[in-house]
Symmetry: C2
Subunit: 359 residues, 2 copies
């Protein structure tokens, strides 16, 4: 990946924005350092992202790539997550047209666009770049038990399920650290985090033997960038499909502390399975000692705070009531850093790490 310049993005979200699983588009719009000039989404033409995310986010939806180019777009970001990880044929023509017009094409799909002969040839002709964020470096190294740099504090977000906000919590905490005058670093471990921060590895794509080693290496890089290091977690330790990725992050980053993320109201794991079996979300009071025990198999760590995602709770006072209940139930500082800002939650994390000299 070449050094990050600020791009002007059009994000392909066709039919998925405001419906479900547009978490890449929303993450990049909310937290990315690139400008987003348009959504390419014929199902919401004439509408604007501000209707969903508030007036700070003035991004129109357009029906064609050429309209986005007229708005100044210089890169096309694939913001849809098609089943099977392959780009539907209908969108191939748009990708080719973007590359021919010298727009970079940015993708987090499992199927690499850069390996597609038609796309590769179009990019070579125009000089556009294809960035496949899920392509991992050919590093191929296992973990080596690297100790943390003295002074560095590594905080990993873990969660009761996948897709509930572990990346967002890490980003919010990093922002709070920087606002407190500290050298905060966000460590991207998935494609959306990489699109936002411009570096990192999509660790779910790593070869299993090298997963912990790559997580260790990401922290090594982060320790050169700052002291307060917030690692984006993935999956959950009890997820029937993704638990190995979660464990690789826990054992590979050997965090000083963990922040446990949970979405209020969630009862079942996000898991497309072929039977009627139930995969319930565990109670927080069970998840806290579980994560400390699992981490402690390699290096001691503690859950120091709970981050609640209260997006499905309509009223602020109800959200505050639930946060209070959770605090009483777990005995840990609890907040929703998106709804109420990350200052208080970061303060709790900082106090826990500094007072107990956990580093």
């Amino acid at each position: 990946m070449r050094p990050h310049t600020i791009r002007r993005l059009v994000i392909l979200t066709e039919g998925q924005f405001g419906v479900h699983h547009a978490k890449t588009a929303i993450g990049v719009i909310r937290y990315g350092r690139d400008d987003v000039v348009a959504l390419l989404d014929s199902t919401i033409v004439g509408r604007n992202v501000s209707e969903w995310l508030g007036p700070r986010y003035d991004v129109p939806a357009v029906a064609t790539l050429d309209e986005a180019i007229a708005l100044g777009a210089d890169a096309l970001l694939i913001g849809i997550a098609p089943t099977g990880g392959k780009l539907p044929d209908a969108w191939r023509a748009v990708v080719v047209r973007a590359l021919e017009a010298r727009l970079d094409v940015l993708s987090g799909l499992h199927t690499f666009l850069g390996d597609d002969p038609e796309f590769a040839s179009a990019a070579a002709m125009s000089g556009a770049e294809i960035v496949d964020y899920r392509r991992v470096p050919d590093r191929h190294q296992t973990a080596v038990g690297r100790p943390h740099r003295p002074g560095a504090k590594v905080i990993l977000t873990v969660g009761s399920d996948c897709a509930i906000g572990k990346m967002t919590v890490a980003l919010e905490l990093e922002r709070a650290a920087r606002e407190a005058g500290l050298a905060g670093v966000f460590v991207p471990t998935g494609q959306t985090g990489m699109m936002i921060a411009g570096w990192g590895v999509s660790v779910d794509r790593e070869i299993a033997d090298f997963l912990a080693g790559t997580c260790e290496w990401l922290v090594e890089q982060a320790e050169e960038l700052g002291d307060w290091i917030f690692v984006e977690g993935q999956g959950s330790i009890d997820h029937p499909a993704y638990s190995p990725v979660t464990l690789g992050l826990i054992h590979g980053t050997t965090p000083h502390a963990m922040v446990l993320v949970h979405k209020v109201g969630l009862e079942e794991h996000d898991f497309e399975h072929i039977t009627d079996a139930s995969y319930p979300i565990r109670p927080l009071t069970e998840l806290i000692p579980l994560h400390e025990m699992v981490a402690g198999l390699v290096a001691p760590s503690r859950v120091v705070a709970i981050a609640l995602n209260t997006a499905d709770v309509e009223r602020d006072d109800e959200a505050r009531r639930i946060i209070g209940l959770t605090e009483a139930e777990t005995g840990l500082p609890t907040d929703d850093p998106v709804r109420f800002g990350p200052t208080r939650l970061f303060g709790a994390v900082r106090a826990a790490l500094e007072s107990e000299e956990m580093t």
Copy 2:
């Protein structure tokens, strides 16, 4: 991989047989269905495998490939594990010579020989096959919560460390099941197991996101082959580098029962780390509930027996004494299935699964 025909192997072990980490060569000689006609190892020329493994294994060591070909070798198996996973230059010429002489070349290295232009071209010219056992299928599917076939019993070997005999225990138990007239199946999950059984996936090479899905799929295939399914475990759940692979096997195969493998005398994890830090082996009384708890995060399972590797205990009576102590300490049937045969240990596994109707 094409259907398995019985090959006549020469195994390249240069300088590593009888010294350390020749576990691929020894596994293939002991358990493989191919004939082994020679070791290619200039450091032990004139000696014979029978000196190490007993009179059943009459395999001479030779200094040159041509001597092995004269003995009837039709395939070269790479039995050395070079640091970094790449074949040293000194051995490239031997591989080329083997391919030119139409010997298949079989490798479990992380660096794929089939991707090497010189090797690929030599193979294409002669019609020899290059088999890279670590190359995983392009299946790319996450776990789907597949239930086991009724009647199938899935037993996973887990362990206190890597490289202590989990594959061997699974192979011995499968043999005992077949000797008891049952349809036993060995499920290879590493390159040596694959060389022995002719199928499987080297799961440590799988993309982390698909690891549990691939383990699930291996069991699905095994359930078409028989009822008593012994899955080769990998790594250990508390290993600083390999724990994600272990967890993928536990959560992906959802075993009805686990057999815990431990090597007597082992105190530290097999882990090349860059500091003086200590990574001690946990006591069995801790590892038993740990594995049951971790498995239970996705599907309930029990540790039903202990397999002790007593290779470093000289006398049989001392080995028996240690086995008795372990049995008393853990409350579980315990034996060394290599030293004393697998019949008793398999009987205990069978009794546990049948009496408790754990399936």
